[in-house]
C-alpha cells in the first residue's frame, strides 16, 4: 500500500493574470503514509498550490489528482477524500463549536449512527472537549486552529491538506498539533505548509521547497541536508605549534578532498578548516593520519558538518529573493 500515489501534481501552472505565474510548472507525487512538508518563502505559491489541490481554484495549465481523481474534472470525488484547513482558519464565528462540527458532519454526510462516536474521538484528539459550547468567535486563535483541524479530520479523509496549521500557536499547542499530524500521517497522506523549519524535521517524512512558483527541492529532510547524498563537509580543527607545515596544504592533498578553506576562530594556536569532499567519500580517516604524521600539528576535532535545513532553505530560496521580496506580505486570502 505504501507506494500508492495519493497526490499527483503534473506540470501545474497558475497565473492569476499578473503575467508572472504564482505556481510555475510544478510536479510531484505524494504517497500514502507520507507526511509532506511544503516549504517556501512568502509568496512562493504554497497556498495557491493547495487551493488548486482542493479544487477551490482551477489551474491555468497542468493537472493534479487526489486519490486518483482529477481535482478539476472529478472535483466532487476528490473533495470527498480531502480534509482541508485553509490559511488563517476561516470559521463561522457566530456558531458554537458543537453546532459547527454538526454542520460539517452534515455536509460531509457522516452517517448518523457513527457520528457521535467519531465526533467525540476527534474532539479529544485535538483537545477541545471543554470548548464545545463556546462560540467560535470567542475562542483564542489556538483553539480556533484546533477546531479548524477537527473539521478537517472529522470524516477521516485519505488526504489531509493543511495550510500553516501551526502558525500563531504557542509551543505546547504546536507540539500537540504536530502529534496529531504524525498520528494521522501513519496511515493517511498529509501535506502541510509551514515556515517553522524545526517542525519539518520533527514531523515530515518528505520535504518540498518551492520558491517563486518553482520547485527547487524534493526529498527527505536527511537528503536535503546532505546527510545521504551530495558532498561531504567536515570541520577539521588543528593545534599548530610551529609554522613549519601548513595544514591546509596537507589537507588539500588528501584523496577525495575537493576544497578546503580556513574558518576564522580567533585562536592563536588552533586553526579550523572546512573541508569539502566528494560525495560518498569520508575523508576523515585520511585527514587524521596525515595530521598525525606531522610534528607540531595536533588534531583537536574532526566533525562532519551537516547543513541545517535552514541553511539549505536559505541557499535554495535566496537566488530569487529579488522577485519574491516584492510580495512579502502577499495576501493569500481568497478572491
Amino acid at each position: 500500500m505504501t507506494d500508492n500515489v495519493m497526490i499527483r501534481v503534473e506540470h501545474l501552472l497558475k497565473d492569476y493574470g499578473t503575467g508572472r505565474p504564482a505556481v510555475n510548472d510544478i510536479s510531484f507525487d505524494v504517497r500514502a503514509g507520507e507526511v509532506l512538508g511544503f516549504l517556501g518563502p512568502n509568496g512562493a505559491g504554497k497556498t495557491t498550490t493547495m487551493k488548486i489541490l482542493t479544487s477551490f481554484l482551477a489551474p491555468t495549465a497542468g493537472r493534479a489528482e487526489v486519490a486518483g481523481y482529477d481535482v478539476y474534472s472529478q472535483s466532487l470525488e476528490a473533495r470527498r477524500r480531502i480534509g482541508y484547513l485553509p490559511e488563517d482558519t476561516p470559521l463561522y464565528h457566530d456558531m458554537t463549536v458543537l453546532e459547527y462540527l454538526h454542520f460539517v458532519a452534515d455536509v460531509r454526510g457522516l452517517p448518523k449512527s457513527s457520528r457521535n462516536a467519531r465526533m467525540k474521538r476527534v474532539v479529544e484528539q485535538v483537545g477541545i472537549p471543554d470548548r464545545l459550547g463556546m462560540l467560535i468567535g470567542e475562542l483564542s486563535k489556538g483553539y480556533r486552529q484546533r477546531v479548524g483541524l477537527a473539521q478537517a479530520i472529522l470524516h477521516e479523509p485519505e488526504v489531509l491538506i493543511l495550510d500553516e496549521p501551526t502558525s500563531g500557536l504557542d509551543p505546547n499547542q504546536i507540539a500537540e498539533i504536530r502529534q496529531v499530524i504524525k498520528e494521522i500521517g501513519r496511515e493517511k497522506t498529509v501535506i502541510f505548509s509551514t515556515h517553522i523549519l524545526g517542525e519539518v524535521q520533527a514531523t515530515c517524512s518528505r520535504v518540498i521547497i518551492i520558491s517563486d512558483g518553482k520547485l527547487v527541492a524534493d526529498g527527505t529532510p536527511d537528503e536535503l541536508t546532505g546527510r545521504k547524498t551530495g558532498t561531504n563537509t567536515v570541520l577539521v580543527e588543528v593545534a599548530v605549534a610551529s609554522n613549519k607545515h601548513d595544514p591546509l596544504e596537507l589537507i588539500r592533498r588528501v584523496d577525495g578532498v575537493l576544497a578546503a578553506e580556513l574558518v576564522p576562530v580567533g585562536s592563536a594556536t588552533a586553526r579550523m578548516y572546512r573541508v569539502t569532499a566528494e560525495g560518498g567519500q569520508d575523508p576523515r580517516g585520511d585527514i587524521a593520519r596525515v595530521i598525525a604524521t606531522v610534528d607540531g600539528l595536533d588534531l583537536l576535532q574532526l566533525t562532519p558538518e551537516r547543513a541545517s535545513l535552514e541553511a539549505v532553505f536559505r541557499r535554495l530560496t535566496t537566488t530569487s529573493t529579488a522577485s519574491s521580496d516584492q510580495a512579502p506580505l502577499a495576501a493569500a486570502g481568497g478572491m
Binding site: 492569476y16 479544487s55 464565528h93
Partner: protein
C-alpha cells in the same frame, strides 16, 4: 438535497444569531402594522387593500438587508473557501442559502397574518383574494431574496450587496409605476417585467400561470447568476 438542507439549516439558524434579522423584522412589523392599523382606526376601513398596496414597496426595501450577508460575508471571512472545498456543488450552496432566506421571509409573512385575522374579526374578509395575495407576496419576496442573493455573490462588502439589491429591486418596482410615461410600444414590456404589476394581478385574486412563471423564472435566473459568479473563480 441533504447538502442543500444542511446549508439551509445553518443559514436559517444564523439569522437568529444576528441582530440584523431581528431589527429588520421588527422595523417591518412596526411599519406595516402602523400603516394597517391607521387605515383601520382612522378611516374605519377594515380591509387589506392598503396593506397589500404597500407590501411590494416594503419588501424591496427590507429583503436586501436580509440577504446581503449570505455570500458576501462568507467571501469576506474566507469561509467561502472552506465551504466550496467541501463535497458540495456551488448550486447546492446557492439553493440552500436561497431557501433559508425564503424561510425567514415566510416567518415574516406568517406574522403579518395578524392583519387579515383582525379584519375578519371586524368585518367580511375576501378570503380568496387574501390567500392569493399571500401566495403573491411569497413569490414576490422570494424573487427579491433571489435578487439579494445574486447581489451578495458579486462582492465581499455587505453594504454594496444591499445597495445593488435595492437598486435592482427599485428598478423592477418603479418600471411598473412609470408605464404611463413610457412610449406605448415599451409599456407592455415594462408591465411584463414589473414585479409590482405582477403582484397586483395576483392580489386581485386571480393566480395566473404567467405571473407565477414570471416569478419562478426571475428566481431561477438570479440563482443561476449567483452560481455562475461563484464558479467564475475557477475560470479567472
Amino acid at each position: 438535497m441533504q447538502n442543500v438542507m444542511a446549508i439551509c439549516k445553518r443559514e436559517f439558524s444564523s439569522y437568529f444569531n444576528s441582530p440584523i434579522a431581528y431589527l429588520v423584522v421588527t422595523v417591518y412589523l412596526v411599519l406595516s402594522g402602523a400603516l394597517f392599523f391607521s387605515t383601520l382606526f382612522i378611516e374605519g376601513q377594515a380591509d387589506m387593500r392598503q396593506f397589500f398596496g404597500l407590501a411590494p414597496l416594503l419588501f424591496f426595501i427590507i429583503t436586501p438587508f436580509l440577504t446581503m450577508r449570505l455570500l458576501a460575508e462568507e467571501r469576506a471571512q474566507g469561509t467561502l473557501e472552506l465551504l466550496l472545498t467541501m463535497p458540495i456543488t456551488d448550486w447546492e450552496v446557492v439553493l440552500g442559502k436561497f431557501l433559508a432566506s425564503v424561510g425567514l421571509v415566510s416567518v415574516l409573512l406568517f406574522l403579518t397574518l395578524a392583519f387579515p385575522i383582525s379584519v375578519a374579526e371586524i368585518g367580511p374578509l375576501d378570503k380568496g383574494a387574501t390567500v392569493a395575495a399571500y401566495i403573491g407576496m411569497l413569490l414576490m419576496c422570494a424573487t427579491y431574496a433571489a435578487i439579494g442573493l445574486m447581489s451578495s455573490s458579486f462582492t465581499k462588502n455587505q453594504i454594496v450587496a444591499a445597495l445593488i439589491a435595492l437598486f435592482i429591486g427599485f428598478g423592477l418596482f418603479i418600471i411598473g409605476q412609470m408605464v404611463q410615461l413610457m412610449p406605448s410600444w415599451l409599456a407592455p414590456f415594462c408591465n411584463a417585467i414589473s414585479i409590482h404589476t405582477r403582484f397586483q394581478n395576483i392580489a386581485r385574486g386571480v393566480i395566473d400561470t404567467r405571473d407565477v412563471v414570471y416569478y419562478l423564472s426571475m428566481i431561477f435566473g438570479c440563482l443561476l447568476v449567483a452560481q455562475t459568479t461563484l464558479e467564475s473563480r475557477r475560470w479567472r
